[in-house]
Amino acid sequence: MTKRRFLRLAWVAGVLSIFAFVSGAYAISEAFKENIYSLGTLKPVDSVLKVKAGDRAPDFTLPSLTGENISLSQYRGKKNVVLSFVPAAWTPVCSDQWPGYNIIKDIFEENEAILLGITVDNTPTLHAWTNQMGKLWFPVLSDFWPHGAVAKKYGILRSNGVSERALFVIDKKARIRYIDVHDINQRPPLEGLVSALEKLGK
């Protein structure tokens, strides 16, 4: 009897869970068709930052989609740098983030900043995925091997091997000026990044 009762309870719990399930809020662009792999709602943050605002940004060199290696240090004294880490290609919110940055090149330029998009995916995957976004004006870097090494250096590598959805604004002196390790399930509102960029000149 107890067992049957337990089964019934489990069944009711199952029914309940179907209706209690709230899908993560995102709007998928038709550009990605049916190629987006939904992961449901994830733990908002799953790592511990190793840097803080005011620190010198750890340098790194990563391969970009155009074939050249890009180092953070090459912008020192020349440009402010925004690092946009997104967790993984072909996932819902990430696919809906860089295409927006792609139409605000002017805001980056007005603030003498370059954007570097980074994921832990390998370059062929990044190539196929970013092709759906139209032509991107900013370099896309692959932190694939050693796996997630740069994400780890900054303290944003999650326990399952993807990075957080994180933004770092680094000034020309290589100082970190702004960090937003965002809830992985949500896109960071542009307001935060734009106001951080506008503060750089001050």
């Binding site: 019934r8 029914v15 809020a25 709007a27 662009s29 038709e30 550009a31 295409p99 139409i103 605000i104």
Partner: protein, 191 residues
């Protein structure tokens, strides 16, 4: 034993039936249905206010727009296809506004799914969008529209009594201004 199970079974039945209408209300707007009931802020700009035939402050619902037909585009600043189609949708606005008869009958609005006011403003500026756009920062309107992918177009007829009827809806595949206008005129019976 059976008696013990009854409340559970009843609860399950209740949940199933109670959840059904909520679920149905969040279906994608389809031909023959009605627009989801959403409250939008009355635009501050006098030009946009007069375009929509609204006055005062506060909020309005889509059927309150002074028009026979309203075209709603669900878009996002972050959506590559919306970006690509933006000039063509502007052209649709121009075609309507150039026609002295149609401009009184058809109005166009956009709702930025998950977009903040800044994000909607950037989209409006980047593509010089001439019709009113509204942010839907918390995705509440997007959810009421069945979480459609973007861009999503809804064409609704507004009846004299203030009720509305969806006469056409489509995901993406914007065919260009001329063909889309023809589709709007045909499906709404304006022509």
């Amino acid at each position: 034993m059976k008696r013990n199970l009854m409340p559970l079974a009843l609860m399950a039945v209740f949940l199933l039936t109670a959840s059904a209408p909520i679920h149905a209300a969040n279906k994608t707007p389809q031909k023959g249905g009605t627009l989801p009931v959403v409250n939008l802020p009355i635009p501050k700009s006098p030009a946009e206010k007069s375009y929509l035939g609204l006055s005062g402050e506060g909020s309005f619902r889509i059927p309150q727009i002074k028009a026979k037909v309203v075209i709603v585009e669900i878009f996002s600043m972050y959506c590559p296809y919306c970006q690509k189609d933006a000039p063509g949708v502007n052209e649709l606005y121009d075609l309507i506004e150039k026609d002295s008869d149609l401009k009184k009958k058809i109005k166009l609005i956009g709702i930025g799914a998950g977009n903040t006011p800044l994000e909607v403003g950037i989209y409006k500026k980047t593509y010089a969008v001439p019709f009113p756009l509204f942010p839907d920062q918390d995705f509440s309107i997007h959810k009421a529209c069945g979480e459609v992918r973007t861009p999503y177009f809804i064409v609704a007829k507004i009846n004299e009594d203030g009720s509305d009827l969806v006469v056409h809806s489509q995901l993406g595949e914007y065919p260009g201004a001329k063909l889309f206008l023809e589709l709007v005129l045909k499906s709404s019976g304006l022509k």
